[in-house]
């Protein structure tokens, strides 16, 4: 938010208004927001807690602002990226041009934990592997946004983006009138349209369901929320059955055919016949139905090869290869531990690097060099040497800061931004909701923003063109 102690231009209006409002009033509004979340039961489940406690996702009342010109870059950059990633996934599971032409080493993909050889040669409706992508962006020291990672399997958190906005409107109603904040309420509609487009064209009114692992999943609230917003059924694996390659759900009126599944369970659990035998969450025979083209499943199985943290390093090259364009959004410098030179370089500088296990997400399996103890660094050194393919390293990037209202005063905390990108029925048709989930590392100095590890969130306002400067103010 600040440049050398002064607010960035697009924050000036908000800054002035907040100063006028005073800490007491702000505290009252924060309390109002908290109550609103509590009463609606907008919660997530904390794993490893004996009682399966559900907690409120901590929420900060101060919005984050993104001016229209910056958003334009983000939007074009993410669309370009998703188009390339969808083309890449089709290539990986079909022709393999990307290997033949030496862009990406074959071994890198085939050794990937999330590579699904069962998907080779399987046609995916409209060639859309990724229907929903959640991309994490950070602001670099030079002010530009860069992509930290893509989530192409089952990205979560979008319900908090929508709920944050609803609560914000209730708490700061007046400001929305004049500020030129782009609305995001149509997200569920866009997602539904994209899902509908995956159904076979001869089906006039496709039956679409959302497949959840059930109430014990940490994101169950989100699943129920999205199902309600889209007006589709929320089903569990035990509600579905497959007969001769066709998926049905069991209703009080008999069996009903299912055409499209928005699944929120991981690849491993989709079908116990093909993947994990012990899975109770999936549907036996579902993968056969997918192969036969009788049901569309979004996101497709096997997308994990494209958001593997080692493959991430190749994304700019993929964009050049498939689209013959320069990447609009940069990557973070990434060192593959498999490459001997990079490994030697990183092992010498573990205290200044971030090391990540390639197949993990949610902030697990990660070493933040500058904050780690000597023992932790030695532990990672051993692990890297034992299994180099499984690790990458990046320079420690100081996430940008945003002001947060913490214990009654303004304090600065690290933030990132997750943007939800939808591919709507054909690879080149990308829809991006103008907003996102700004995640906040609420612990002072912490760089970990994941909700499972003490992160919180704030509303993210994308400003309309012409509203970039001193526009937010007056009656906040």
């Amino acid at each position: 938010m600040y440049i050398q102690g002064l607010p960035r231009p697009h924050y000036q209006g908000l800054h002035q208004t907040l100063s006028a409002l005073g800490a007491d009033e702000l505290r009252r509004r924060q309390a109002a927001a908290d109550m609103s979340f509590l009463h609606q039961g907008i919660t997530f489940t904390v794993y490893g807690d004996q009682r399966g406690t559900e907690k409120i996702f901590p929420y900060d009342v101060l919005p984050r602002l993104i001016p229209a010109n910056e958003w334009d870059t983000i939007q074009r950059g993410l669309a370009q990226r998703l188009i390339a990633l969808n083309l890449f996934l089709k290539d990986v599971y079909h022709e393999g041009r990307v290997f033949d032409e030496g862009i990406v080493p074959r071994e890198l993909i085939w050794s990937c934990k999330h590579f699904r050889r069962e998907m080779r040669g399987v046609n995916v409706p409209r060639d859309v592997y990724v229907t929903v992508c959640g991309s994490d962006l950070i602001r670099m020291p030079d002010g530009r946004f860069a992509v930290l990672e893509d989530n192409l399997r089952v990205p979560s958190g979008v319900s908090y983006m929508l709920a944050n906005r609803q609560v914000m409107k209730r708490v700061f109603p007046a400001v929305f009138k004049s500020a030129g904040i782009q609305p995001i309420d149509h997200y569920a509609q866009s997602l539904l349209t994209a899902l509908r487009a995956l159904a076979r064209p001869d089906i006039a009114d496709p039956h679409i369901v959302l497949l959840t692992p059930g109430v014990f999943n940490s994101a169950y609230f989100e699943h129920a929320f999205l199902a309600r917003q889209m007006g589709i059924q929320l089903v569990e694996g035990r509600d579905l059955l497959v007969h001769e390659g066709v998926v049905y759900c069991r209703t009080t009126e008999g069996l009903r055919r299912v055409d499209v599944i928005y699944r929120r369970i991981d690849d491993d659990f989709v079908d116990p016949v093909v993947f994990r035998r012990d899975s109770q969450l999936g549907v036996p025979g579902l993968f056969a139905a997918i192969r036969m083209g009788n049901v569309a499943v979004a996101n497709a199985v096997g997308n994990g090869v494209a958001d593997d943290k080692a493959v991430y390093a190749y994304v700019p090259r993929l964009i050049r290869f498939y689209l013959k364009q320069d990447p609009i959004l940069p990557n973070i410098d990434t060192y593959l531990m498999e490459e001997a030179d990079s490994r030697a370089f990183v092992l010498d500088r573990l205290h200044e690097m971030v090391v990540k296990a390639v197949g993990e997400s949610g902030g697990y399996g990660m070493l933040i060099g500058p904050h780690a103890t000597t023992e932790q660094r030695e532990e990672f050194r051993k692990r890297i040497i034992a299994d180099p393919r499984n690790y990458i390293a990046q320079p420690t990037i100081s996430l940008s800061h945003a002001p947060c209202f913490i214990n009654g005063s303004l304090e600065s905390r690290h933030v990132d931004l997750r943007v939800y990108v939808i591919c709507s029925g054909s690879v080149d048709k990308v829809v991006i909701c103008p907003g996102g989930l700004t995640r906040v590392a609420l612990k002072k100095g912490s760089l970990v923003v994941n909700s499972s590890q003490g992160g919180g969130s704030k509303d993210t306002w994308v400003l309309s063109p012409g509203h970039d400067r001193e526009s937010i103010g007056g009656a906040l």
């Binding site: 199902a227 569990e236 509600d239 007969h243 390659g245 069991r250 209703t251 009080t252 009788n294």
Partner: protein
């Protein structure tokens, strides 16, 4: 509606009714015992456990707090009030997108309150607070369902759960309190008997309604007549059998509007389903009997029949709507080839 969702709505409603009923009879037992001799009070506790269909504790019960924990405050005892609330809330969470936000909030609030209480302390110091909260929530939940829920299938399954649970509970109460009528119908009542019977009526929220009809003269056969045969009182068995019958009929009408192709043989049209036949027979036998005939047949056997009917209805509904067998031979997918 998904079969699983219907099942959860049914059980949510049943468990909440059970929690409310248990809270009500426990609350009364604690008060009644104050007016009784220790031996009569102990007999009262044993009767209460029988009426709740709870296994008696293995060793002879020397103090009543064990019973209070077993059916009230012990999270490890499936029959306890706190377990029933947790089960109701678990089922409600499964169907959050089906019930109104207000309904969810009531049940969630009670659950959160219980989770934050030290249950052992509460059981010894102020058990009444739990009973009051549970009963209030059960009533609020009922009122909110009336006021905020569409009268679709989901609503019907909730009605069904509550009516079945109530009919079972009241049957067990009558069996536990009046089995002796079958042996010695002329025994002279004592003052303690009156205390017990007033407690029984209050435990079913029936005392005032009974008095309006019969004055405050408490006579066993009148009480039986009221709780078994009254067609208008919402806790009476006949009333609840009528609700079950009407609800099943409504469900059949809705199902008749939908073409049932995939389901195996049982009832392929707007015929009377198995469940409604069972409850219809049971209802008719109560509707067209008077007290004299009931006593001749024996009260115990009549209420056991009611309970058996309720159980049979439960399984018949499950076979018809929830876990029905599937006739795969009629499943003919339009096409098996990719488009």
């Amino acid at each position: 509606m998904l079969s699983r969702v219907a099942d959860s709505l049914y059980w949510m409603s049943r468990y909440l009714e059970r929690a409310g009923h248990t809270a009500s009879v426990l609350s009364l037992q604690l008060q009644v015992a104050l007016d009784q001799s220790p031996s009569a009070a102990m007999a009262g506790w044993l009767r209460l456990l029988t009426s709740l269909r709870v296994e008696l504790p293995g060793e002879a019960m020397t103090d009543t707090t064990a019973a209070l924990r077993l059916v009230g405050f012990d999270q490890n005892s499936p029959a306890s009030i706190v377990s029933c609330v947790a089960a109701a809330r678990f089922n409600a969470r499964q169907v959050r997108e089906q019930i109104s936000g207000e309904m969810w909030e009531q049940i969630n609030r009670l659950y959160i309150w219980i989770s934050n209480e030290d249950l052992d302390t509460l059981a010894t110091r102020n058990p009444q607070e739990l009973f009051d909260r549970v009963q209030t929530t059960a009533h609020l939940f009922q009122g909110l369902s009336d006021g905020t829920m569409s009268r679709g299938q989901g609503w019907h399954f909730m009605q069904l759960g509550r009516a079945i649970e109530r009919a079972c509970n009241v049957s067990s109460l009558l069996a536990a309190h009046f089995a002796w009528l079958d042996q010695a119908p002329t025994a002279t009542p004592t003052a303690e008997d009156y205390t017990e019977w007033a407690g029984l009526l209050r435990g079913s929220a029936a005392y005032e309604a009974y008095c309006k009809l019969n004055s405050a003269e408490l006579r066993p056969e009148r009480i039986v007549e009221f709780l078994l045969l009254n067609p208008d009182f919402p806790h009476a068995i006949r009333f609840n059998l009528q609700v079950i019958n009407d609800t099943l009929q409504a469900l059949e009408h809705e199902a008749a509007g939908v073409k049932i192709r995939h389901r195996a043989a049982s009832g392929s049209g707007p015929q009377i389903g198995e469940a409604r036949k069972i409850v219809g027979r049971s209802l008719a036998s109560l509707s067209f009997s008077d007290l004299h005939e009931i006593m001749q047949k024996g009260l115990t056997s009549v209420v056991l029949d009611v309970r058996k009917s309720c159980e049979d209805v439960h399984f018949a509904v499950s076979r018809q709507y929830i876990s029905y067998p599937i006739d795969f031979s009629v499943l003919t997918p339009t096409s098996l080839t990719p488009a």
